[in-house]
Amino acid sequence: MIRRWPGFLLFVFILLAWECASAFNWVDQVSIPRVSAIAQAWAASVQDGRLLAALGSTLGRIICGFAVAALVAVPLGLAMGSFALVYRLIEPLTEFVRPIPAAAYIPVAILFLGIGDEMKVFVVALACLFPILLNTYGGVRGVDPVLIDTGRTFGVPRLQALRQIVLPAALPSILTGMRISLGIALIVAVVAEMIAGNSGIGYYILDMQRSFRIPDMFAGIFTLGLVGFIINFAFLKIEQHFLRWRGTSVET
């Protein structure tokens, strides 16, 4: 915890500088309001529940999309890593689809799924899919051949070896893929909400900007920063829990 102090101090310093810059009109006070004004707006919108409701629907979409992606990508990645045929079948498709930014699918998804939750969950799931898939595949390919031979000499059947040896051995990189994809999920969900629909924190930020409630807009943005931080931190803790057997802390 002590090691975090310098970073925390820098953070406070920037907020103070911001407060002064705005208070003394060094910057345009309308487009860059004082930090204290943002804090007030934040407290008010938390109290009347609007911000939390927006946040809730965004988080719901992220969790659903992430869960769908994980349920598809982990088994698919295991299969791609273990069976050459599956790899040769899937690999060209993934290499083509992967570079396309997930946000580019939003217009198509709107055509098929409308502007509601289905569309957003779909886009989030698509964005989460590839980091998990590629990391799972990479993790499986990286399993030590000695470990594979160990399973074989003990006569462990192939499917059982997948569960007892390959999956746990690939777990570190699978979890890394999941953590990366959670970060992307937040970005994509907010973009999707800004483009279409009338709920979620992305919509909230855009709506506040359009109605010139600039402190509220910044309150939304700060909330996103905080949520991103908390998600990452929580997931790191989960990773550490599952990877206790490595005896070292998870690299960030």
């Binding site: 074989r152 003990f154 057997w245 005896g247 070292t248």
Partner: protein, 271 residues
């Protein structure tokens, strides 16, 4: 002569590396008797690991056959378990000592009631001297302890043949002596045929009832010696025994001297 538990018939192994064929060995034949402790020695790269993998079915020969209990080996064979040199890469790091040993028991498909399974795991953990460490994970164990876990995990399957590929070469000299004692002690309690690969001639003579010496690649059997040193073997007395010294000298000669002679013939000294 006891019936052979393993028989190699005209075994050959070639790899193709960058389009060229590399012959590791060919026309290799020998018989391993049940209950014997056979060491295979030879210089690095001569094909000892390759041979061991062929015997337990982890790899298939380019020609010839391996017979195990009179049946040809066509894949990882039940009844044979291989212990690898790199124990850190063979142990399951996410399982504790108990879990690793239980892995062996489950793999042996001996469905025991939980209580009995637990007792059996504990029995083998005790056999390798790790009682009290059941809940330790590999990262909390020393190298020698990890290799003991691998040995317990293999023995709990009650294999007919235990194949060990330089099992002690990655531990320090002190631990190595302790593990040698351990394997000799285990031999007196568990009836298992051991095939032991090492490049340490002394270790081979000290442990075995028979030593097979391979020459440099492409390997052939250079020598095959029965070791009739008295049991139990003793780190000091056995190593001072005249027969021990004579045997190790004979083995060194058959592995290396022939090579020197050939080199001398190929490049005669300039007069």
């Amino acid at each position: 002569m006891a019936a052979p538990i393993i028989e190699l018939k005209d075994l050959a192994k070639t790899f193709s590396v960058h389009g060229r064929t590399l012959t590791v060995f060919e026309n290799l034949s020998c018989r391993i008797e049940a209950g014997s402790f056979v060491s295979i020695v030879g210089p690095s790269g001569c094909g000892k690991s390759t041979l061991l993998k062929l015997m337990c079915g982890l790899d298939s020969p380019s020609a010839g056959t391996v017979l195990f209990q009179n049946r040809p080996v066509g894949g990882p064979a039940r009844g044979m378990i291989c212990v690898f040199q790199h124990y850190t890469r063979s142990i399951l790091p996410w399982r504790d000592v108990m879990g690793n040993v239980a892995f062996g028991l489950n793999a042996a498909k001996k469905s025991l009631p939980p209580r009995q399974a637990r007792d059996k795991c504990l029995q083998y953990i005790r056999l390798v001297g790790l009682e009290g460490y059941e809940r330790y994970h590999p990262y909390q164990l020393s190298g020698g302890m990890q290799q003991r876990v691998c040995i317990a995990r293999a023995l709990i399957c009650e294999p007919a043949v235990l194949l060990m590929d330089e099992p002690f070469s990655a531990v320090d000299a002190m631990t190595r002596a302790v593990l040698q004692e351990l394997i000799l002690k285990i031999r007196t309690t568990v009836p298992v045929t051991i095939l032991f690969v090492t490049h340490d001639v002394d270790e081979a003579v000290f442990l075995s009832s028979r030593v097979i010496a391979l020459g440099p690649a492409p390997a052939s059997i250079r020598d095959d010696v029965a070791i009739d040193l008295p049991q139990p073997r003793d780190q000091i007395a056995t190593r001072e025994d005249g027969r021990f010294i004579a045997t190790r000298q004979r083995l060194f000669a058959s592995i290396f001297l022939q090579e020197k002679r050939e080199q001398a013939r190929a490049a005669p000294p300039q007069a």
